[in-house]
């Protein structure tokens, strides 16, 4: 005992641990030289006899777990295998394929590395040097503009609407839960099924034309920009529920005192909304903006549900194609171009996400 106490004073490496129930009953603990130090009221142990010159902290739970290195990896093994094969390898491989010429997915063969695929999807060069006629026009003409229209139109509208609805829902007493549930309904639907419903609603003989006395082609044989209207309405409709859910839970976490203070200062409702609610909700708003930008850039099923194909007039002219639609269309026949489009999309999403984080630094209150 005295030996240990003196070793502390001399500054020799020892392990010190508080005497607690947890450290007393652990099974299979290694044997250490130990004793109870009256002065500091702690159990004092000399470290593992083999490496007694190294300090070693002994704590109940780490004590057992630290020797279970292999066990942790064993529990993780199935997930690591699956993630490696279906998540990390594909990511690397897709980037690789984007830089290969004429990749054949069935055999895995390709004709060297190239940057041509990116030029090809952007309509700058032909698919290969010896085939100058094979130019891609649809990606620049349809996929990029359509995707950006969807992003720029639907994200602000749906976020703003969801915010207003959430604030309204949060301010009422009766039937709050019921109404919240009703607003959530579009989330629990099949995107293809409801897309088909919207195409019936916007049919040239449908209810929208009837109510507004129009004779428009919204879906079949519609022009690119007209067909964007039902598509964007559908995307806003289907993306609002999730946003309301997140905003409402954020609103319910805001301290009521802020509103009482505003009431005493007789602030207007609009001022309360912009000066109190929005700043305090800014973490949720940032989260919603990032996820919905990502979602809008990846829009695909809404187009399939509404138009049953890449265009408003069958397969001929893919005027409703989005970037993701382009990827899936070319996956089989032109794998390199599809991979290049995927990398293109990935870079755009990364840039947008980085921009939002950068912009949020000043405005988001955590």
């Amino acid at each position: 005992m005295e030996e240990i106490s003196s070793s502390i004073k001399k500054g020799k490496p020892v392990a010190v641990e508080e005497l607690s129930a947890s450290s007393m009953f652990l099974d299979e603990r290694p044997v250490y030289d130990e004793g109870y130090d009256q002065e500091s009221k702690t159990v004092v142990r000399l470290v593992s006899p083999k490496a007694s010159n190294k300090p070693y902290r002994v704590r109940g739970i780490d004590d057992v777990a630290a020797r279970n290195n292999w066990k942790g990896w064993l529990y993780l093994a199935p997930v690591i295998i699956l993630v490696a094969v279906f998540l990390i390898y594909p990511l690397v491989n897709t980037i690789f394929i984007a830089f290969t010429a004429n990749y054949q997915y069935a055999t895995g063969t390709f004709d060297g590395l190239t940057l041509r695929n990116f030029g090809y999807i952007l309509g700058l060069v032909s698919k290969s040097a010896d085939n100058p006629g094979a130019m891609e026009v649809y990606f620049v003409r349809y996929a990029i503009p359509n995707t950006f229209i969807i992003v720029i139109v639907t994200v602000p509208i749906s976020t703003f609407l969801a915010l207003i609805i959430s604030v309204a829902l949060n301010s009422i007493k009766w039937f709050q839960k019921t109404l919240q549930t009703l607003f959530f309904l579009p989330y629990v639907t099949n995107a293809i099924a409801v897309g088909m419903v919207f195409s019936v609603i916007f049919d040239d003989k449908g209810i929208i034309n009837y109510i507004f006395g129009l004779n428009m082609n919204w879906i079949q044989n519609a022009t690119q920009y007209v067909a964007m209207i039902p598509l964007c309405i559908y995307i806003v409709w289907s993306s609002i529920p999730f946003k309301i859910l997140i905003f409402l839970s954020g609103l319910q976490g805001i301290d009521k005192q802020y509103y009482q203070a505003a009431q005493i200062d007789s602030c207007s409702k609009a001022k309360v909304l912009w000066k109190i609610t929005v700043p305090l909700l800014s973490p949720q708003i940032l989260y919603i903006l990032i996820t919905s930008f990502m979602g809008a850039f990846k829009e695909y099923t809404a187009v399939v549900g509404l138009f049953n194909g890449p265009g408003t007039s069958g397969k001929g002219d893919p005027n409703m194609e989005t970037i993701v639609y382009y990827i899936y269309e070319n996956l089989n026949s032109n794998t390199s171009a599809a991979a290049a489009a995927a990398v293109f999309l990935f870079v755009i999403i990364l840039v947008f996400t980085a921009l939002q984080f950068w912009a949020s630094k000043k405005r988001v209150h955590y």
Binding site: D27, D62, L76, V79, V83, F86, L161, D203, G206, L331
Partner: protein, 329 residues
């Protein structure tokens, strides 16, 4: 010293906003801009009622817009095709065509698609639960070298759009010979299930849940001589049951709604899932060859109703799970 403390906490007295009669001669009347307090109070009450009413009108109008597609789906599914295509639209079918639902089974093989979907959903959900529980346990409870590093890599993969992986996964599955000429039903199932046997997001979700389980329970189990394995299944899994139910339902909903991947990896329409069947079927009248919107909408009702039933019974788990996870499928 104690005197000061007393006065500091002494309750303050407020004057109620009423005319206060001090004695017979003096009446203190609190007024603002020439109005009596009663009038102000009344005006405030009225404006509150107006605001509340307007809020309800606003919310109900938007609810009507949100609900309308569902209403129109059901209504159209019960109409005759001539009524759907008529120049005057009706908000209720003149003749209720229950027979649409009978006819729809002739052009839409609901039973087969339903069965395929249930098989794929069952196995991918089961696999996800097992792998997720193991991984979340390792991340939340066990300590080993490299744990934080692996977890960081996992978190980073959540930021990457899934479309990046689809191309290579398609190639991988093709190299396993699960797709291509002469694909069997088993191969189709494997191609639809195996890539979705785990989910990084659910691992993250469950890990957060496991972390909330106090250390003392683990230590108590250790004292009783329980192994990690039995602690996981006897203590942690039952305690995390709500999260596991959320994961199960969301995963099932994800399979029910999945369209792209099954479409890519199956050769025969017979192997596909419910969304593919819905979009892939041509809803034409068997006799006339015309597109029947009534059949089409009846089919969408058949696809939507199971989801609604699920939502009615598990609303709490779905909304909580979505609120935390924030993704579909």
């Amino acid at each position: 010293m104690s005197e000061i403390a007393k006065t500091a906490v002494a309750p303050k007295k407020y004057i109620d906003f009423k005319d206060v009669v001090v004695n017979d001669n003096i009446v203190i009347s609190l007024e603002e801009a020439g109005q009596t307090t009663d009038a102000i109070k009344k005006a405030e009450k009225v404006s509150k009622i107006i605001t509340t009413t307007l809020t309800y009108i606003f919310i109900l109008a938007l609810v009507a817009l949100v609900i309308f597609p569902f209403y129109w789906m059901i209504i159209t599914s019960l109409k005759q095709n001539t009524e759907i295509q008529a120049s005057t639209q009706t908000f209720f079918p003149t003749i209720v065509m229950w027979s649409n639902y009978v006819h729809v089974f002739q052009v839409f093989d609901f039973g087969r698609y339903m069965w395929n979907t249930i098989v794929v959903a069952f196995f991918s959900t089961l696999g996800t639960l097992i792998t997720t529980i193991f991984a979340a346990f390792a991340f939340a409870r066990l300590k080993f070298k490299g744990r934080e590093g692996v977890f960081m890599i996992f978190l980073t993969t959540m930021m990457i759009p899934g479309e990046m992986m689809v191309i290579s996964n398609f190639i991988t599955v093709a190299s396993f010979r699960w797709i291509g000429e002469g694909q069997t039903l088993l191969q189709a199932y494997l191609a639809m299930v195996v890539p979705f046997l785990t989910s990084v997001f659910y691992i993250y979700l469950l890990r957060q849940n496991f972390k909330q389980i106090p250390n003392e329970l683990y230590l108590a189990a250790k004292v009783d001589g329980k192994s990690d394995w039995s602690f996981l299944w006897r203590v942690m899994v039952p305690l995390a049951a709500p999260t596991l139910i959320s994961i199960t339902i969301l995963k099932f909903m994800g399979t029910w709604n999945s369209y792209v991947w099954p479409n890519l990896v199956t050769n025969s329409p017979d192997y596909r899932l419910i969304s593919n069947g819905l979009r892939g079927s041509a809803f034409v009248d068997v006799d006339s060859g015309q597109t029947e919107y009534g059949y089409q909408m009846a089919a969408t009702v058949l696809v939507t109703v199971p989801l609604f039933l699920l939502f009615i019974f598990f609303r709490k788990y779905i909304m909580r799970g979505v609120g935390r996870a924030g993704i579909k499928g």
